[in-house]
């Protein structure tokens, strides 16, 4: 049963050291009482007060926090609202959110806080249209990023699992609708056998969701450039300067290497083409193609031009690709004799051009300065929807897994077969929400296409 209490990270996760997790809804206090350890129970504390304490999952301390409590209707959404200020950085903020979800909230839909605020009369009427736009924009983004994240094998796997589930629901349902034609004798054994591998597959997806998520946050930054332009040196320089907080996880689904670096309080998720390089000597083109694919989804592109040789076909392609996108152009190799000049590049691109020497670490500060400027002036922004979508996916996978366990339990308790399809349908819907597919007439269609019914 889905709760009506929602939670999300309320701050853009990259732009500040403090992350705020916001909870809104009837069960907000019930949830915070379960996970907050401090001097007093927050449900008993007066409204509009701030409390120091720790967020814990059972015995495990997640973070040291400040919690602000606001009882409805005097809050943004006019519902009981709690804001948790987390201090441990991006990852910890997410851990706190996950803990909140674990203890009973559900991830907020795009724009849901705003929507509630409006529906509860907290926002001025003149803003109604704006609210609608927010909902639409956020939905579009969530949908896009959701599909983006799922390209390829994962959505394929989810489709396979769903296909198997709907087959079994259809089988049960057709037997219920037409008991004289289709029998369920001995069927529960068959169903048990079918569910086990589905559960394994979902658990596997859950594990990979955990791994993949680390890199899905921050400003997605892609370094492009022809072979030997100095992309990897640049990466090393950038990463090297911030070694202390670098997390490096090899991309699991794509063969690029991703690294997370921090420029002051901006989190950059840099996708190097290191993985691509290995294929370069086979076909040079592939390097550009692959980088381009990664760059399609990027928030920021760093184009490294090789100052030691004239612009070639590869450069031309990159230059036209970055037109109209957020990008910075680096003219690399100022340490050796330059064949290519800033002026030559200026004729070809409207983006900011910064001469650097990745090898000698010259000009790197200017690059960092430029990125910070772009960020603070709002030219590039990081959208936390990617992360939120991710949480939603994980939540749905967990829900589906739980529903399948319920089916097993019903089988074990020798419940009648019609009860199996309730939980199977639940799993089917949960998985469908990940790949953006509603149920509609799936079941009826499956029944008629797979089973021969009736008179």
């Amino acid at each position: 049963m889905k709760t009506n209490t929602i939670a999300a990270i309320a701050t853009a996760m990259s732009s500040s050291g403090i992350g705020i997790v916001r909870i809104s809804g009837e069960e907000a206090f019930e949830i915070i009482d379960k996970i907050y350890k401090g001097k007093e129970r927050l449900s008993k504390a007066p409204s509009h007060t701030i409390h120091y304490g720790h967020i814990c999952d059972g015995d495990q301390v997640i973070d040291e926090v400040l919690v602000m409590i606001m009882k409805g209707p005097r809050s943004y959404t006019a519902e009981d609202t709690i804001e948790i200020d987390c201090h441990g950085g991006v990852l910890i903020t997410k851990k706190v959110l996950e803990t909140v979800l674990k203890y009973g909230a559900r991830p907020a839909e795009p724009g849901e806080f705003t929507k509630r605020a409006f529906l509860n009369g907290r926002i001025d009427l003149s803003q109604a249209e704006a609210v609608i736009d927010v909902i639409n924009a956020k939905n579009d983004y969530a949908l896009k990023s959701s599909v983006k994240q799922l390209e390829g094998s994962i959505s394929g796997k989810i489709r396979d699992i769903r296909e198997s589930i709907i087959y079994h629901i259809a089988y049960i349902e057709s037997a219920l609708d037409d008991p004289e034609h289709i029998s369920l004798d001995g069927y529960s054994d068959e169903l048990s056998a079918a569910i086990a591998p589905l559960k394994t597959e979902i658990s596997r997806l859950l594990k990979s969701a955990d791994k993949g998520r680390v890199m899905a946050e921050g400003i997605r930054t892609v370094i492009m450039g022809k072979p030997n332009a100095g992309k990897s040196s640049l990466m090393n320089v950038l990463v090297g300067e911030e070694r202390a907080i670098v997390t490096d996880v090899a991309g699991t689904t794509r063969d690029t290497l991703e690294e997370n670096i921090r420029l002051e309080d901006i989190s950059l998720n840099i996708i190097d083409t290191a993985g691509i390089r290995e294929t370069e000597d086979i076909v040079e083109k592939i390097g550009v193609e692959k980088a381009r694919n990664a760059a399609e989804e990027a928030d920021l592109i760093i184009y490294v031009a090789d100052g030691s040789c004239p612009l070639d076909e590869n450069d031309e392609e990159i230059l036209s690709f970055i037109e109209g996108r957020k990008a910075v152009v680096l003219l690399n190799k100022t340490d050796i004799t330059m064949v290519l000049t800033v002026d030559q590049l200026k004729e070809r691109t409207s983006h900011q051009i910064i001469p650097v020497s990745a090898k000698e670490r010259l000009g790197i500060e200017s690059l960092e300065e430029e990125i910070k400027n772009m960020f603070y002036q709002g030219e590039i922004d990081f959208n936390d929807e990617i992360y939120i979508t991710n949480v939603r996916h994980k939540n749905a996978l967990e829900g589906a897994l739980k529903s399948l366990q319920m089916v097993e339990q019903s089988i074990e308790n020798s419940m009648p077969e019609d009860f199996y399809s309730i939980d199977l349908m639940d799993a089917y819907e949960q998985l469908g929400s990940i790949i953006g597919e509603a149920v509609e007439d799936d079941l009826v269609n499956e029944i008629f296409s797979k089973f021969c019914m009736g008179k």
Partner: protein, 630 residues
């Protein structure tokens, strides 16, 4: 030349299962009602299968009965075999199905109609609806007679421009060779109503004397028959029953069908109408499921006073000679003699999205419709729509509020909501999987769910209502008693549990906990429960189910609460959605077309996304604020 001219409160067009329920409801509510049929001899005719009920259809009949309809009472009077289907499964999918004596069913219903006050029966074909400024004012018959009325219910079944087809033969008749109604369609179209053409089919009726039953499996009715109607005394339906018989097609049958498939009008393109997937002809089954080496054939009596037998599972539109050949390959039917051959029938019906949930046309005030005319199939689906259309027509005339059952209240609600909100491209059949909250919508609790509404409408008697109130109270008290009655691990209890293959108790528990064990139930615990007073079967059944499936029931109840929230946000059916900025074009089109009555209904329209719904919610709120301030 002058024409006959009469005035009634309500006109019903068609006297099939929908028309009869509509007419009875209106007349019983005291309104002057006239019902038209092309043949008085075919009132409540069962032109296809000889049974009432079946999975989920049985639910419809019970619900109809709880509201004050007639079908359940009529089948209780005329059944010749009865079965509760799915008894080994959960209570939600138990469903009654009875074999009817067709002729008797029809004449009993006719008798009821004939003896109902305020009801006039007239044999005539209605050819026109009269609409003035978007309001229905009357109907005209082929003779030119005019019948003024305040409301009308169209229930023309499969008769509109009907065409019966088998092989190369095509005849412009309704079912069973009855006269079709060929003029009304044009009048409807002229009034802007969008028509569909649907198709259905029926198998051959054969002579019982030509069947060798020794080669078939005998199918008996239940030993203890449960009546359909809540007002039928259960003892009165315990009577001798007639058997049905089961046999199978085989490769030889399929070979004949395959060899002649080019002569099937379905495959040669003669039939244009859309058929239903759940009711495939035998040739469809053979073509679509080539791996199945045999299909079941149920041989069912058409009545007590006839030798005709119905071959369920083998409907067909193959030519007559092929029909003889294929039926005669089936064990037991080697020498079978066909009385009436199988055929397909095509007919006009409406696109039901033109209706409100009250079954009134969106564009014509006072015009209602029900049954196969609305694109459904089945006697039971027809009857419940006819009833709801009749009730709402009556309410309209009386100036009382209309009745719409929602998806959490009844299968009837699911059926009508599906018809008016979903794209309906084939004859619609009720299925248990279409009901989201089926654990709550059981056939055993139809009275508890709906009888109060029936009483409110005015079609349930004071006596029935009082019994219902008593029943509710007793159930509640008994459930409470069991939840709070402790039971210790005494020797008597442990022995009882052992005898029933149930784990012995380690500590004390409650009687309710024991009821929840899959291997036990309420009745079995009688001897352990010294304080129990004797309860009628139907009450004991409710206590058992309420305790046993408590967890699941509560879960669905929570889902229903969520669902109700969106249903309770009403929309103005005449609202122009193009005024809402930010709604996607597709959503605007669909919403303007379907004219949903609530946000919940809007969310079920295909092509309307969750973000469209959010936009609508915000917009609604905006409107509400404006009104408050204005």
């Amino acid at each position: 030349m002058s024409n006959l001219e009469e005035t009634y409160d309500i006109v019903i067009v068609g006297a099939g299962h929908a028309g009869c329920e509509a007419a009875l409801a209106c007349a019983r509510l005291g309104l002057e009602t006239i019902i038209f049929t092309v043949s008085v001899d075919s009132i409540a005719l069962m032109p296809c299968n000889p049974n009432i009920g079946g999975s989920s259809k049985g639910h419809l009949v019970r619900e109809l009965d709880a509201l004050g309809g007639e079908m359940g009472k009529n089948i209780d009077k005329t059944f010749i075999q009865s079965k509760m289907l799915n008894q080994s499964k959960g209570p939600a999918v138990h469903s009654l199905r009875a074999q009817a004596d067709k002729q008797n069913y029809s004449s009993e219903m006719r008798k009821t109609l004939e003896n109902t006050d305020h009801l006039t029966i007239r044999q005539a074909e209605i050819s026109e609806i009269v609409v003035e400024d978007g309001i229905l004012t009357g109907v005209k018959s082929v003779s030119g007679a005019i019948y003024h009325c305040k409301a009308a219910v169209l229930a023309t079944g499969t008769y509109l421009q009907a065409r019966c087809i088998y092989g190369e033969v095509s005849m412009h008749t309704g079912p069973n060779g009855l006269q079709s109604a060929n003029l009304l369609t044009d009048s409807l179209k002229a009034n802007g109503i969008e028509m569909f053409r649907f198709k259905t089919g029926t198998p051959a009726r054969v002579d019982k004397r030509s069947i060798d039953f020794s080669k078939m499996e005998e199918q008996f009715g239940d030993e203890r028959v449960v009546p359909f109607s809540f007002s039928t005394d259960p003892e009165s339906v315990q009577k001798d029953q007639i058997s049905c018989w089961l046999t199978y097609t085989n490769e030889e049958t399929h070979e004949i069908i395959r060899a002649n498939i080019d002569r099937s009008p379905m495959y040669s393109g003669v039939i244009e109408g859309t058929g239903a997937r759940y009711c495939p002809s035998i040739e469809d089954k053979v073509v679509k499921f080539p791996d199945k080496i045999r299909h079941q054939v149920f041989v069912e009596p058409e009545g007590l006073n006839t030798n005709e037998m119905y071959l369920a599972g083998m409907s067909s539109s193959l030519p007559e000679d092929v029909q003889f050949a294929m039926y005669r390959t089936v064990p037991g039917l080697e020498h079978v003699n066909i009385v009436r051959n199988a055929y397909a029938i095509e007919y006009d019906c409406i696109n039901p999205r033109q209706l409100h949930s009250t079954l009134e046309f969106q564009s014509i005030s006072g015009l209602f419709s029900g049954g196969q005319f609305n694109g459904s199939s089945g006697y039971e689906e027809a009857a419940v729509q006819g009833f709801m259309a009749g009730v709402n027509a009556a309410m309209k005339v009386k100036g009382r509020p209309q009745y719409v059952l929602d998806r959490s209240q009844a299968y009837i609600g699911v059926l009508i909501d599906d018809l008016v909100t979903k794209e309906n491209l084939e004859p619609y059949r009720m299925m248990t999987s279409r009901a989201e909250y089926r654990l709550l919508l059981r056939q055993d609790n139809a009275d508890l769910r709906l009888m109060k509404i029936g009483y409110d409408i005015g079609l349930i008697s004071e006596e029935q209502y009082n019994r219902l109130i008593w029943k509710e109270q007793v159930i509640e008290e008994e459930v409470k008693r069991l939840e709070s009655t402790n039971i210790g691990a005494s020797k008597e209890v442990q022995t009882f549990l052992e005898e029933h293959g149930s784990t012995p108790l380690k500590t004390g528990t409650t009687l309710a906990e024991l009821v929840r064990r899959p291997e036990l139930n309420y009745v079995m615990l009688t001897n352990l429960d010294s304080k129990r007073s004797e309860l009628p079967d139907d009450v004991a059944e409710q206590v058992d189910i309420n305790i046993k499936y408590d967890g699941y029931i509560r879960r669905q109840q929570q889902q229903v609460n969520q669902y109700k929230k969106l249903e309770s946000k009403k929309l103005d059916p005449d609202f122009d959605y193009s005024k809402v900025k930010s709604l996607r074009n597709e959503a605007v089109q669909k919403l303007n077309l379907y004219k949903p009555m609530s946000i919940g209904q809007a969310s079920r329209i295909s092509g309307v996304s969750p973000s469209d719904i959010s936009v609508l919610l915000v917009f609604l709120e905006h409107l509400r604020h404006q009104k408050q301030e204005g």
